[in-house]
C-alpha cells in the first residue's frame, strides 16, 4: 500500500520530466548496450583463440623424449652434485612407447578420460625433383582425431575419411602442398629417416591457421605410418588424452607419467601463457564497460540533482502533509532505479541486437579457415553482469541526491516564498 503510493509519486515526477528522464535513461542504455556487445565480442574472440589451442591440443600427452641416460657412471663414484663429466649418449629406439596397446586400453577404461588417440610422428623428406623438403608425417587414428580434435575442420580440401579408405594416402599441410605444387589426386614421394622411399597419394589439404605448422605437418593414417617405418601395428610414439575435466590435466599427467614410464605433458604446462592473454582481454573489456557505466552514472546523478532542485516545493509539501525523510528518499531512489531498470533493460536488448549485428559481419582470414564472420559470445553471464551493474550505478548515483532530498527542511522552502 505504502510502496504503491511512493511508486505512484515517483512515476508522476518522472512523467512530468520525461525528457530529462529519457536523456538519463539513454545514457544508461548506451553504456549497457556497449558493455554487453563489447564483452560478447571480446569473449567470442577469446573463445575462438583459446579454442584454436584448446580444441587442437590433447589435455595430456604421453611420449618418450630423447634424453641423455639419467644414470651417468661418474655419479656412481662421487654421488649426486656438480659432476661435469658426462659420457653416456642417448641410445636409439627410445621414441617408441612400450606396451602402447595396453596403455591405450588402460586409459580408455579410466573414468576421468574422455577419449584417447594414439599417434606416430615420423620425420620424412619429400622428394620434389632434385630437392628434398623436410616434413613431419603424423600417423593418426582418424576416427579418434575427428571426435577429439575436430580434425576434419582443418581439412580445408579433400576428405579426412579418405586417409583410412585409400591406402598409402596423405593429407598435406597447405604450406607444404603449395611448395610441392601437389594437387589432390597427385602422388608424391617421401623418404623416411632410415632411407626407405614411399609413394603417397594426396587426398586433401590441412590448414590449421598456424603457418609454421602448415609448412611442415602432414597427416597419414596410423597404419600407413607403421608401414613406412616397418613397425608392427602396436607401434606408437604419442598417446594423446582428453579428459572430462580440463583442470585435472596437471594432476593426471603427474600421476600417470611414472606409471606408464613415459614423459607426460599437460596442456597447462604446454600453453602457460594463453590464459594470461584471455584474462587481460577480459580485464580491458570490463574496464571499458565499467567506465561507460560510471559516465552514465554521473548523468543520472546530475539529472536527479536538477530534478530535486526543481521539485523543492513538491518535497516541502510532501513533508508538510506527513511524508517522512525516508519516504522522500524512497521516492527519489525509486526514480533512480526506475531509470536504471528501464535504461538497462533496453540496453540489454539493444546489446543483444548489436551482438547479432557484429555476428553478421564477414570476417574471413587465411589463418582461421573455420571462421566466416566475427565471433560473438552470447553467454548470459555478461547480460546478468550488465543488468546488475546498471542497477548498481543507478542506485549509487541516486543515493546522494535522494539523501539530499530527504534532508530538505520544508520550513525553509515555505518561508522562502
Amino acid at each position: 500500500m505504502k510502496f504503491q503510493l511512493i511508486f505512484d509519486i515517483a512515476k508522476a515526477l518522472l512523467i512530468a520530466r520525461w525528457k530529462q528522464t529519457l536523456v538519463a535513461a539513454v545514457g544508461v542504455t548506451f553504456s549497457i548496450t556497449m558493455f554487453v556487445a563489447l564483452l560478447g565480442f571480446m569473449n567470442g574472440l577469446n573463445n575462438l583463440l583459446d579454442g584454436l589451442i584448446l580444441n587442437r591440443s590433447p589435455h595430456v600427452r604421453f611420449f618418450n623424449e630423447i634424453k641423455p641416460n639419467p644414470d651417468q657412471p661418474i655419479e656412481g663414484f662421487y654421488g649426486e652434485g656438480m659432476n661435469i663429466i658426462r659420457s653416456i649418449k642417448p641410445s636409439g629406439g627410445l621414441l617408441k612407447i612400450h606396451n602402447g596397446g595396453a596403455i591405450l586400453e588402460n586409459l580408455k577404461n579410466d573414468p576421468r578420460v574422455l577419449g584417447v588417440a594414439p599417434k606416430i610422428s615420423l620425420q620424412v623428406f619429400y622428394n620434389v625433383g632434385n630437392i628434398d623438403i623436410t616434413g613431419v608425417i603424423n600417423g593418426i587414428d582418424v576416427q579418434a582425431e575427428r571426435s577429439l580434435f575436430a580434425f576434419e575442420d582443418y581439412v580445408t580440401e579433400g576428405n579426412a575419411e579418405d586417409l583410412e579408405n585409400i591406402s598409402n594416402s596423405i593429407i598435406l599441410g597447405k604450406g607444404a602442398a603449395d611448395r610441392m605444387l601437389a594437387n589432390i589426386g597427385d602422388v608424391i614421394q617421401a623418404t623416411t629417416a632410415s632411407g626407405d622411399r614411399f609413394r603417397l597419394r594426396v587426398v586433401g589439404y590441412y590448414q590449421s591457421g598456424l603457418q609454421d605448422l602448415d609448412n611442415v605437418q602432414s597427416y597419414a593414417s596410423i597404419s600407413t605410418a607403421q608401414k613406412m617405418l616397418g613397425e608392427p601395428s602396436n607401434y606408437m610414439t604419442d598417446i594423446q588424452v582428453k579428459l572430462n575435466d580440463f583442470d585435472q590435466s596437471p594432476a593426471f599427467a603427474r600421476e600417470m607419467g611414472p606409471i606408464f614410464g613415459t614423459q607426460a605433458e599437460d596442456i597447462q604446462m604446454a600453453n602457460a601463457q594463453f590464459e594470461t592473454g584471455s584474462d587481460i582481454r577480459n580485464m580491458i573489456s570490463y574496464a571499458v564497460g565499467i567506465t561507460l557505466l560510471i559516465v552514465s552514472g554521473f548523468g543520472i546523478y546530475n539529472i536527479l540533482n536538477m530534478m530535486i532542485y526543481e521539485k523543492m516545493d513538491t518535497i516541502a509539501i510532501l513533508k508538510a502533509i506527513g511524508f517522512s525523510g525516508l519516504d522522500v528518499k524512497g521516492i527519489f531512489m525509486t526514480i533512480a532505479i526506475g531509470i536504471g531498470i528501464f535504461g538497462g533493460g533496453i540496453g540489454l536488448f539493444l546489446g543483444y541486437l548489436l551482438s547479432m549485428g557484429i555476428d553478421q559481419v564477414p570476417f574471413e582470414t587465411e589463418a582461421l579457415p573455420t571462421v566466416k564472420t566475427f565471433p560473438v559470445s552470447y553467454d548470459p553471464k555478461y547480460y546478468i553482469i550488465g543488468g546488475v551493474f546498471s542497477l548498481l550505478t543507478t542506485f549509487l548515483a541516486g543515493y546522494l541526491p535522494a539523501r539530499k532530498a530527504s534532508s530538505i527542511d520544508p520550513v525553509e522552502i515555505i518561508r522562502g516564498k
Binding site: 503510493l5 512530468a16 506527513g322
Partner: protein, 227 residues
C-alpha cells in the same frame, strides 16, 4: 463536560543565529481546546509564521514544551512527527502549495493514501465529497496548475481535511487572494467551525476575519499581548 485540550504550548522560545543571535519568540504559552476557532494577529515580523511552524511540528529547533492531543512533541523522532502531521494536523499555506504533477482529486487523496486508513476507493469517494463541499467537484480531474488561485486554495483546504485532523492550521490562507475569494475561504472556515466543530488556528492580517473567530491571540515582538 470539560472540553479536551487539543494543543498546548508552554514557554516556547525560538532563536535565530543568522546573521546574529535573535530571540524571535520569547516564551509563549497558550492552549487550544477542541472545537475552538482561534485566530493569531500581530504586526509583520512579530513571529506568527515562526510560531506556526513550531506548532505544526515542522520546526523542531526551539525551547519549551509542546503537547498535541496530550502527547509531548519535544522528544519525538522525525518519523513520528511526520505521522502526527499526516494524521492530526491539516496545514493550509498562504501560497497554494499543491502538487502540480497531480489532479485536484489526487492532491486531496494523497495524505489519505499516506495514512492508509481507508482504501483507495473509499478515499476517492471521501475526497470527492470534500471537493463538493467547496464547490470544486467539477474541477476534480484538472491538474493542479490548471486551477485559479482561489480554486487552488479551496483544494488545499479540502486536502487539509481529508484525514479528519484534530486541528487545522493556516498561515494567512487568504492573504494571497482577492476580496471575493478570501471571503469564500473565510466562509469555509466559519462553516467548518460551526457545523463540523473543527478546531482551527489561523494566522491572519485581516481584522474582519479575526473578529469573526471565537478567540484572537494578539502577538507583539515575540510575546502574546493579550487574549
Amino acid at each position: 463536560m470539560e472540553k479536551k485540550t487539543v494543543l498546548e504550548a508552554k514557554s516556547i522560545h525560538k532563536y535565530f543565529y543568522n546573521p546574529t543571535k535573535a530571540e524571535v519568540l520569547k516564551g509563549l504559552s497558550f492552549s487550544i481546546k477542541a472545537g475552538e476557532f482561534v485566530s493569531v494577529v500581530g504586526k509583520s515580523g512579530c513571529g506568527k509564521s515562526t510560531l506556526l511552524y513550531i506548532l505544526s511540528t515542522m520546526d523542531t529547533d526551539y525551547k519549551g514544551e509542546l503537547w498535541i492531543d496530550g502527547e509531548p512533541m519535544r522528544k519525538s523522532s522525525p518519523t513520528y512527527l511526520s505521522r502526527i502531521r499526516n494524521e492530526k494536523i491539516g496545514f493550509v499555506f498562504q501560497f497554494h502549495y499543491l502538487l502540480n504533477e497531480f489532479t485536484a482529486l489526487e492532491n486531496v487523496m494523497i495524505p489519505g493514501l499516506k495514512l492508509g486508513k481507508y482504501s483507495k476507493q473509499e478515499l476517492e469517494h471521501k475526497a470527492m465529497e470534500k471537493l463538493r463541499i467547496f464547490d470544486m467537484a467539477d474541477h476534480a480531474t484538472k491538474k493542479a496548475n490548471q486551477l485559479s488561485g482561489g480554486q487552488k486554495q479551496r483544494v488545499a483546504i479540502a486536502r487539509a481535511l481529508i484525514n479528519d485532523p484534530l486541528i487545522i492550521m493556516g498561515d494567512e490562507p487568504s492573504g494571497n487572494l482577492d476580496k471575493k475569494n478570501s471571503d469564500i475561504v473565510f466562509g469555509i472556515f466559519q462553516e467548518l467551525a460551526k457545523e463540523f466543530h473543527q478546531t482551527l488556528l489561523i494566522v491572519t492580517h485581516d481584522p474582519d476575519f479575526a473578529a469573526g473567530t471565537d478567540r484572537t491571540i494578539t502577538m507583539e515582538d515575540g510575546k502574546i499581548l493579550d487574549e
